[in-house]
Point group: C2
Chain length 221, copies 2
């Protein structure tokens, strides 16, 4: 019987088989939820993607909603762990550039995580509004305060710090969520190349640093 433990990926107090299967299922679920949303995803599709019979998915997670919740929690944990990057005493230019690089790494390496999150937001975020209103809001306010402090100290040019963070998010995540669009426009065959991500990263760093007066605008020819 399923001992009523809310199954999550990082629960190390579990047996070997359990851990392996949960990981397999969550990975498959992330992919299927990313590509179909919660309502459009089927447990049968997740089972096939995971290479397990459907009943096995229900054995570990009970319901589709609980599995979705587990996937969401996993993604939020990943998000939060990638957040800590910006610190008070660092150099503005390198700190911003490092943060942009870290977010772009996530877009490149975990696009499905970003897509599940995007799906949830598009639908009005009924299941993650708590996270948005607390952890994320606090993170933005905390980091915006640091930027404002840098501005006050004259270490970067005045800029709307909160909105700068919003738009760094939108620019970095577009390369995960809407990859096909940019691949099509760039003439790639469905998938972007690593150099496309590198070029995008450099561009976003440029646009942000120029805006903050941390990188000179090249003179007009």
């Amino acid at each position: 019987m399923n001992v009523e433990t809310n199954a999550t990926a990082d629960d190390s107090s579990q047996g070997r088989i359990r851990q392996e299967n949960i990981e397999k299922i969550m990975k498959a679920a992330e992919k299927v939820f990313a590509g179909n949303g919660f309502r459009g995803a089927t447990t049968a599709a997740i089972a096939e993607e995971a290479g397990l019979p459907k009943a096995n998915i229900h054995y570990y997670f009970g319901t589709k909603a609980k599995l979705y919740r587990a996937v969401l929690d996993d993604i939020i944990a990943l998000w939060l762990s990638s957040f800590r990057e910006i610190g008070e005493n660092d150099d503005p230019a390198t700190t911003l550039a490092d943060y942009i690089r870290a977010k772009m790494q996530l877009s490149q390496n975990r696009p499905n995580a970003s897509k599940v999150f995007a799906n949830e937001l598009i639908r009005g975020a009924p299941r993650i509004s708590g996270y948005l209103e607390t952890e994320l809001k606090e993170w933005v306010e905390e980091k915006a305060a640091i930027l404002d402090h840098w501005i006050e100290e004259g270490r970067m040019a005045p800029v709307d710090s909160k909105r700068l963070l919003f738009h760094i998010w939108s620019m970095t995540q577009t390369w995960a969520d809407f990859e096909v669009q940019w691949a099509a426009v760039l003439g790639r065959k469905k998938k972007l190349k690593a150099e496309d991500f590198d070029a995008a990263t450099d561009f976003i760093i440029t646009i942000v640093l120029r805006t903050c007066g941390l990188q000179p605008i090249p003179s007009r020819s």
Copy 2:
């Protein structure tokens, strides 16, 4: 019987009742597809949103797939009509600012259109790859050429023109697709205020014009 005319919204050669109902259904469908994706949307939900019995939806559109196609075509037509904005001989700063304003107007006024499109992209764009690879690709190349021309003439600072357009898109559409996220972080109750859209518009214009050397970077205090 449904005379085999591919029903679309702007078909003015139709009867009054037909036109009204098609409009009602497409509006409802856009909302339901935006919130659930193609697979997650149900014809019953669309019918209820439209205030019509389910059989009536099938009377006008046949299948869910055809209705989705009609909604998609409607959105693409809207997208393309909002594209023509950037012309060769205009002033770079005002042209870019006007384009950003136009895109933000769309995000504010037709968020569901943007969301349906976003859903389709997240899913890998199986039904709009043709549009991405032709019309959109050509538009980007055409407009990027104009930006490059401006740069050559010394009318703006050197910048990766294609990627500038990509990121203008990502920054403007985030305010439609992910509105709840920014509303939550800004402490609004689910919905953004008009002034939030205005502030975002101003910010995006600022970041773009600064990057292009078309607006001075304020001196550090």
